[in-house]
């Protein structure tokens, strides 16, 4: 059949032609001048107004590359965490924290050639106060009584009430109140409806081109990059001329893209993808050179209890559930052992190990828990070491043996799984056991639903299934609910029994806990059924906690007392167990060094890792072209 043979031939021929058609990955831009970063698919690609609702999550390079704020905190910065950006010095508060004075930098220009001045800062605050829908409007309205600008470099905020943390609104960890270009927005009738397209940049990069469908956005180095705060701190011209944010598909597609050297920076992938890249691709670098490679984000995934729902209002039940968990299995299940576990209610990252974890070890080891029949010491300081030993079999030459180093990688200790103590605690709370099934005090079976978000955060979904299984084995029927996108809403509405999520998030680079703690005060707690504002999703209410929060509000940011207060909070959280802290959120963000070198790492933590973090800009200007780059 001639016709048929022709068809078959054509099919084979077209297959052979395909490789010849292969195109450059980016049209019109030399690959060795571009850094390609995993971006989101931005459905509102032509919306660049960060200050209007929805714009706040604009993570396709807009807020990472073109914005600027007064101060920055590098979550991994240690002693050098603090950076004065648009401000020349840290905030100056008066005695009772009712005014804050800011000194601004000179010589910083917007990308359209207009100079940045105090007017921009005043305009940013005043405009948002005038337009309640804008992102930082409420924060400004609540705090700011008036603004003065005695000269072009000085702004004085008069506050409605004492607030020693007012400056944090202007301090970037992930984001902050970005400065608006007055000369652009003042010509606009409604700043809420303005798309700010093309955006004017206050930082070293400016928009080059973007895909209206939101699959990519390309930013290029400003010719006057030196007239930005990041440029001023930069001795030589940044070598990355173009930054490409490209939507890169599912985790496996990202791994494949990086293997093909078409994706330099991956934001997050599953641990398996990371391991596979690190094993097979010598060109890939990571935060840690060996296992577990991950960067621990300053967030604390935990088992959250809905404390307004019995029996989770009972501390003994919460403790019993904690003691039923074998954290090693959770770490293996969620992260294949690559977890940085934490028994304390702060993430074990940044400065926290030194500030909190080391000082707490003795207290934890001696901590006593009354099970109703006896007193036990539940803390096992060797859990992290055991975890290291378990993973060492698979990664023999990657795992260090030095205990201090291990603690930084795998965490310190955790609660030892203790079924006898858990049984006693449950019995103390009035529960009975029928065969292998626990019964509520009223005789009904004790069942728990564990809510996880699912695919968006796969490691936590895995942790949830592992924990549910452990509880089931201990005689409590536990089922996992995948809440998906309703996760946030259900957490807020209290529509859950237990959940795997984080309600503790810190600066990372600073011991101050106000980042989350301030919102834990009991006056924000809503009755059951009403929506709880972030972040106290477990609705933990305790007069001792309120006292701590009040004390913190009147402490200066850098006061040494901040750490002491933090320790008190941690002890309270251990005793009350309002949530079961599990581990840091370990983020797997591999870098491809084929084109660029000098990525941040644990050894050189000059910036946090992860492309949707705003301080990624410090990494981009620091990257060096790989001298052995393949010729295009």
């Amino acid at each position: 059949m001639g016709l048929f043979k022709k068809i078959a031939l054509a099919a084979v021929a077209s297959l052979l032609v395909l490789p010849a058609l292969a195109q450059d990955f980016i049209a019109g831009i030399p690959r060795n001048e571009a850094l390609i970063i995993q971006g989101p698919t931005a459905q509102n690609a032509d919306w660049f107004n960060l200050w209007a609702p929805g714009g706040g999550a604009n993570a396709n390079g807009m807020q990472q590359l073109t914005t600027d704020a007064l101060w920055w905190i590098n979550p991994e910065g240690g002693d050098n965490a603090w950076t004065n950006a648009l401000a020349t010095e840290p905030p100056i508060y008066n005695e009772d924290f009712t005014t804050m004075t800011v000194k601004l930098r000179e010589g910083v220009y917007w990308s359209d050639g207009v100079e940045f001045t105090a007017d921009d800062l005043v305009y940013t605050v005043q405009t948002q106060i005038d337009h309640p829908g804008m992102g930082w409007s409420a924060a400004f309205s609540l705090n700011v009584a008036s603004i003065e600008s005695p000269d072009r470099n000085t702004v004085i905020f008069n506050l409605k009430a004492p607030n020693s943390r007012f400056h944090t609104i202007f301090t970037v960890r992930w984001n902050a109140a970005w400065i608006m270009p007055k000369h652009v927005f003042e010509k606009v009738e409604d700043p809420l409806a303005y798309n700010f397209n093309p955006p004017v940049s206050l930082s070293a990069y400016v928009l080059n081109s973007y895909d209206k469908a939101g699959n990519w956005a390309i930013w290029k180095l400003r010719d006057d990059w030196q007239r930005t705060t990041i440029g001023m701190a930069q001795p030589t011209k940044p070598e990355v001329n173009y930054v490409v944010y490209a939507a890169s598909g599912n985790p496996e597609a990202r791994v494949i893209a990086q293997r093909n050297h078409n994706l330099d920076v991956i934001n997050d992938i599953a641990p398996e993808g990371m391991f596979s890249l690190m094993k097979d691709n010598p060109s890939v670098a990571a935060w840690l050179p060996g296992f577990p490679f991950a960067h621990p984000d300053p967030t604390l995934p935990s088992v959250l209890f809905n404390l307004q729902k019995p029996p989770f209002d009972n501390k003994d039940v919460r403790w019993a559930l904690a003691l039923m968990i074998d954290i090693r299995a959770v770490a293996l299940g969620a992260y294949r052992g690559a977890a940085n576990i934490s028994a304390l209610s702060v993430p074990p990252t940044g400065s926290a190990p030194d500030d909190y974890f080391v000082p707490m070890q003795d207290w934890l080891t001696n901590f006593e828990l009354n099970t109703g029949t006896r007193t036990i010491k539940p803390y096992d300081p060797t859990v992290a070491t055991q975890l290291a030993d378990m993973t060492r079999r698979q990664w023999p030459d990657q795992i260090p043996t030095d205990e201090a180093q291990l603690q930084r990688i795998f965490g310190f200790g955790w609660w030892k799984q203790d079924m006898a103590a858990a049984t006693e605690l449950l019995q103390k709370a009035g529960f009975t056991k029928n065969g292998n099934q626990w019964l509520n005090p009223d005789g009904s079976p004790f069942e728990i639903r564990v809510m996880v978000e699912g695919d968006a955060v796969p490691t936590l979904a895995r942790a949830g299934t592992t924990i549910a299984q452990q509880w089931s084995q201990a005689g409590i029927k536990a089922t996992v609910d995948v809440a998906g996108p309703t996760n946030g809403q259900r957490l807020g509405a209290g529509d859950f029994q237990t959940a795997i999520y984080w309600t503790v998030e810190t600066w990372g680079g600073h011991p101050d806990l106000s980042f989350f703690l301030d919102s834990y005060r009991s006056d924000f707690i809503k009755p059951p059924g009403e929506v709880q504002p972030p972040r106290n999703m477990q609705r933990w209410q305790d007069p001792r906690l309120d006292a701590l929060i009040d004390r913190n509000r009147s402490l200066a940011f850098d006061s040494p007392e901040v750490v002491a207060l933090g320790l008190d909070y941690l002890k309270l959280a251990v005793e009350e167990m309002p949530m079961i802290p599990l581990m840091a959120y370990n983020k797997f963000a591999p870098f491809d060094t084929t084109y660029w070198t000098g990525y941040p790492s644990a050894a050189n933590p000059y910036a946090a890792s992860g492309p949707n973090w705003s301080n990624l800009r410090y990494m981009i200007v620091a990257l060096k072209a790989n001298p052995s780059v393949p010729k295009p």
């Binding site: 509102n44 960890r173 895909d211 946030g488």
Partner: protein, 358 residues
């Protein structure tokens, strides 16, 4: 119009029926009106269904937006309260279900599905219209290719039953057909993206290319569309192959085919003008009926290959909890599929002169 009978046969005009060319247009209008009625019925049912399902959603658009906005960074509880109040005002989810239903219809007719929550304040319709060309392009191309190849191979296989090579191809084509779209797509992705990486596996076109009628852009679109389209073609053509083969093997025994063969009409003409031409007709109707499923396949393919079309948009909307986007896409796809079916229906009389137009 009557044909005059010849004298020789006594003018037996009763033998000759009228040639109804004059009736044609009128009948066509009635036919179109009927089809349009069906189209309206489908749209109304689908839109109502979508509204009802969405109406019972536990997802509160306001809370959804709030959680999207407050997902990152420091959030002051007091500021969230204020934001919530202003959002409630914006979305205006008040009124009885009936009035909301009519409001919804008003929106459907205006093509206004409100602002997307995950891409606030971009209107859902804008987002859909950006994704639409991709899906239409991919689906049209893949559907036509699979329809043509499937039918051609099926017709060949039905007409030339004894050829061994055609039997082998037929087996391959049929074996591919029942495999779920996802598995075919993933297999292609593994082969051409991972084991032998020669084709792009993610996206719709090369980076930094502006849509333009240039060869560079078009070739890029073709290249990026190859794997998604190939998946749809491989999955789609088996069905056409099977039904065409059985249609043809029935038609070859029909009198008019046997007659043309007896008459020594060249077999190429018999095959194309007699067999395939007639067997094609039910396949066109089948095409209209299958469009709904084809669209479902596109959802999966776009998801696998990160293709910037409607299907991926819908899945992304679900993952993002974007209530208005999901409702908008569903409603829109119901209307789009119904429209495509309607178009095929009214074009059908052009290829089948027998269609009962009355």
């Amino acid at each position: 119009m009557f044909l005059p009978g010849s004298d020789r046969f006594g003018g037996r005009t009763r033998l000759f029926c009228s040639v109804q060319i004059g009736m044609y247009m009128n009948g066509f209008l009635i036919y179109v009106a009927k089809r349009f009625g069906q189209f309206v019925f489908v749209v109304v049912t689908g839109v109502t269904l979508a509204f009802l399902i969405a109406h019972f959603s536990p997802v509160d658009p306001v809370e959804q937006t709030l959680s999207l906005v407050t997902n990152f960074g420091a959030t002051d509880p007091r500021s969230v309260e204020i934001l919530r109040a202003s959002l409630r005002e914006l979305y205006g989810t008040e009124g009885s279900m009936i009035s909301q239903y009519f409001v919804f219809w008003g929106r459907v007719i205006r093509g206004d599905f409100g602002p997307s929550l995950s891409a606030f304040p971009t209107p859902v319709m804008t987002i859909i219209s950006r994704a639409l060309p991709w899906t239409i392009g991919l689906l049209t191309l893949a559907t036509i290719i699979s329809w043509v190849i499937g039918n051609l191979l099926g017709a060949i296989a039905g007409y030339f039953r004894t050829s061994r090579s055609i039997k082998i191809v037929g087996l391959l084509v049929m074996a591919l057909q029942p495999i779920p779209t996802y598995i075919t797509g993933l297999t292609l992705l593994i082969i051409f993206g991972f084991l032998w990486p020669i084709l792009p596996i993610s996206g719709g076109a090369q980076l930094n290319l502006e849509p333009a009628a240039s060869w560079g852009y078009i070739s890029s679109v073709i290249q990026y569309g190859t794997l998604p389209a190939l998946t749809l073609v491989l999955v789609g053509m088996g069905g056409w192959f099977v039904s065409m083969r059985s249609l043809v093997s029935n038609i070859v025994t029909d009198d008019f085919v046997v007659y043309s063969e007896l008459a020594g009409v060249p077999s190429r003409t018999v095959f194309s003008k007699y067999v395939a031409r007639n067997a094609m007709l039910p396949q066109v109707t089948g095409l209209a009926l299958s469009l709904g499923n084809v669209f479902g396949g596109a959802v999966i393919v776009e998801f696998i290959f990160n293709y910037p079309g409607i299907g991926k948009l819908m899945v992304a909307g679900i993952y993002a909890g974007d209530y208005s986007l999901v409702l908008g896409v569903t409603t829109f796809s119901v209307i789009a599929v119904a429209t495509a079916v309607f178009l095929i229906d009214i074009l059908y009389p052009l290829i089948d002169p027998r269609v009962k137009l009355g």
